[in-house]
């Protein structure tokens, strides 16, 4: 701990006391101070994220995680296929039918189907490969069964179940008809009487039952979604750097079959660096001179004079140039037109690939003023080298829309996206310096009622 005796008799004694005691005074910082500095630095690094600096391990881990998630989603979606009889018949069954030897699981479906077929009666059954989702291939089974003929007493009773007949032209059949649909029929021991592109004929104990493939039912629907997309944009100007942008999205989607057409509006805050060069004058130390305060004759040696000296710093006004970078904010309106294709869908999850152009219009600019650090500096001139933003840009957007259905009409989504800008943001940049961005959208989607045609 520094300390000092109070110097008496001088006009500036207070100043001297404090200067001598506290001039080199040190205080040990608390442990939290470095944590705070370190945390702030990390946050700054994240906000100025540069893709070229990402360690290879992070890329590999991220890619592996995405592949695993997609694999799990695919597995999840593939293990819930079912056969469903048209609800119009008031007979609904479900069972697994994913492999060839699952007769136990599929037999109830067949049992129900058989019960539909009664003598002198026509019935219709829809069989779908999945859980009644719109746009899936469907079949209508129609049976025209004559009334049972009287059986002679001495006649041998016909076999109730003949051994499963081999399929007619099995390789062709497997191409035209999903084996998952044919397997239950075979497993139940029904005889396949005929098979062509559109009709399966089955020999049942009650007669011939025909199953007809029909065109997929076209289902259309609308949805609206709202969300926010933080994105990292990469600029390739005189130096490469990244900035964090934020978009608020409101979109309408039209879904038909597996396709989606989407448009809407987005409000975005886009950031970049302002560049200034400031010329200023500040008073800086340029050296020192030695001033003689007093002198006296050396009592031991009368020929020697002893000088008391003091080093006095010399200041002068010096001219400096400082390059200053500021953070500017621009407000944009974006109008996207995206086309989508559904990659898969389950009861709860769906994944769509979306792509299309988007047009952005500059509607607001907020430029930050340059800042000079030194309080005693006098600013002579400020040169603004910030490039002017153009009014309109366009880009191509590619995204994956992963949605989780919370309820029948409400879902929440996660949407990683990549955008490539075809023209430059500013008038000073070349086309080759056009930036790209990577973002992750989060939001909710409301599904309106379906329109079936």
């Amino acid at each position: 701990m520094n300390s000092s005796k109070f110097p008496a008799g001088e006009g500036e004694q207070i100043d001297d006391l404090f200067r001598k005691t506290l001039g080199d005074h040190t205080v040990e910082p608390s442990g939290n101070l470095w944590k705070g500095v370190s945390r702030r630095l990390l946050w700054k690094e994240i906000s100025r994220f540069n893709f070229t600096n990402v360690p290879q391990g992070y890329w590999i881990s991220g890619t592996a995680a995405i592949i695993m998630i997609l694999g799990l989603l695919y597995f999840y979606s593939g293990s819930h296929q079912s056969i469903r009889v048209n609800p119009a018949t008031e007979q609904v069954t479900e069972g697994k039918s994913s492999s060839g030897n699952n007769s136990a699981a599929s037999s109830p479906a067949i049992a129900e189907k058989k019960s539909l077929v009664t003598p002198n009666q026509e019935s219709v059954a829809k069989v779908t490969g999945k859980s009644g989702l719109p746009g899936k291939p469907q079949m209508i089974a129609s049976a025209s069964v004559p009334a049972p003929r009287p059986v002679p007493r001495n006649a041998e009773a016909p076999a109730r179940h003949e051994p499963a007949a081999s399929l007619i032209n099995p390789p062709v059949a497997s191409e035209r008809w999903s084996l998952s649909l044919l397997d239950p029929i075979r497993a139940k021991g029904l005889t396949l009487a005929d098979l062509n592109d559109t009709i399966i004929s089955l020999q049942t104990p009650q007669g011939i039952m025909k199953i007809q493939k029909i065109k997929p039912v076209s289902v259309q629907s609308f949805s609206a979604d709202f969300g926010v997309t933080p994105e990292l944009i990469k600029y390739n100007t005189t130096h490469s750097y990244s900035e964090m942008n934020y978009w608020l999205n409101a979109r309408m989607s039209y879904h038909f079959s597996k396709f989606t057409l989407q448009t809407g509006i987005a409000l975005g805050y886009v950031y970049d660096e302002g560049k200034y060069q400031t010329k200023y004058i500040s008073k800086d130390s340029i050296g020192y001179f030695t001033s003689i305060i007093s002198f006296y004759v050396n009592p031991d040696n009368q020929n020697e004079i002893i000088f008391n000296t003091k080093d006095v710093p010399v200041y002068d006004s010096l001219q400096h140039f400082a390059d200053d970078r500021t953070r500017n904010r621009y407000t944009y309106i974006e109008l996207p037109l995206l086309f989508g294709y559904q990659l898969f869908e389950t009861n709860k999850l769906s994944l769509d690939l979306m792509a299309g152009p988007a047009f952005t219009f500059l509607i607001g600019t907020r430029l930050a003023e340059p800042y000079i650090d030194f309080p005693n500096a006098r600013i002579i001139r400020i040169d603004d080298n910030t490039a002017q933003r153009v009014k309109m840009t366009w880009k191509i957007s590619l995204s994956l829309h992963l949605e989780y259905r919370v309820s029948k009409s409400l879902g929440c989504y996660l949407e990683p996206s990549y955008k490539y800008y075809f023209n430059s943001f500013t008038d000073k940049e070349q086309t080759s310096s056009a930036p790209y961005s990577i973002g992750i959208g989060l939001g909710i989607r409301y599904h309106f009622g379906k329109i079936t045609k």
């Binding site: 005796k5 404090f18 005691t21 001039g23």
Partner: protein, 189 residues
């Protein structure tokens, strides 16, 4: 305070280990500086934290023409002044408080002082009104002229002179109070 070139190069490259080393070398000195400008330790640490962020962001602009200590100290002082400007709630001139001249005892007539601990003197500065504190620090420790102080704090030169005078008087009173309290303690002992 000697900072090796390797540390500076590491900081310019953004290496966290180099930043940590630089921090360890400079933090206690810089906190000592900022304690004079702040009202308490927490406030001083806030200033130091902001100051170090700026140091690491702008370290590439350090031209190595002068001492690094002078450069980093200048950033810290500037940060302290920014902090003061940002948090100044009342006009600068209104913080001047009247001191009863009869209370002032001429130190020249007083007996030589005992040792005054640095922490005690630091506390005296910290308790000064904001305006006094800024002017006193800039004048005494940074050796600013009144003209420079006036430009830095956006006040007139006469205001700067008045503030310094009032600060000195207030500090003198605090020193004498301290001395008297210590004297009476000794008598009781």
């Amino acid at each position: 305070m000697i900072v090796e070139d390797s540390i500076l190069e590491g900081c310019i490259a953004g290496k966290r280990s180099a930043q940590s080393q630089l921090y360890k070398k400079c933090a206690s000195t810089m906190l000592g500086v900022c304690m004079r400008y702040a009202g308490n330790r927490d406030e001083a640490e806030d200033i130091v934290q902001e100051g170090f962020i700026k140091v690491f962001q702008r370290i590439s602009s350090f031209r190595r023409e002068g001492s690094f200590e002078g450069w980093i100290k200048r950033i810290m002082i500037n940060q302290a002044l920014n902090h003061y400007r940002k948090n100044r709630k009342v006009p600068f001139t209104s913080v001047i408080e009247e001191i009863d001249e009869t209370e002032i005892v001429d130190l020249e007539e007083s007996e030589p002082m005992d040792v005054i601990p640095a922490d005690m003197l630091l506390g005296m500065i910290q308790k000064l009104p904001e305006g006094y504190k800024m002017v006193f620090n800039l004048y005494v420790f940074e050796e600013f002229s009144h003209k420079e102080i006036a430009e830095s704090l956006n006040v007139s030169e006469s205001t700067s002179k008045t503030q310094l005078l009032k600060a000195r008087r207030l500090l003198r009173k605090k020193i004498i109070d301290y001395r008297q309290s210590k004297k009476s303690t000794k008598i009781h002992e």
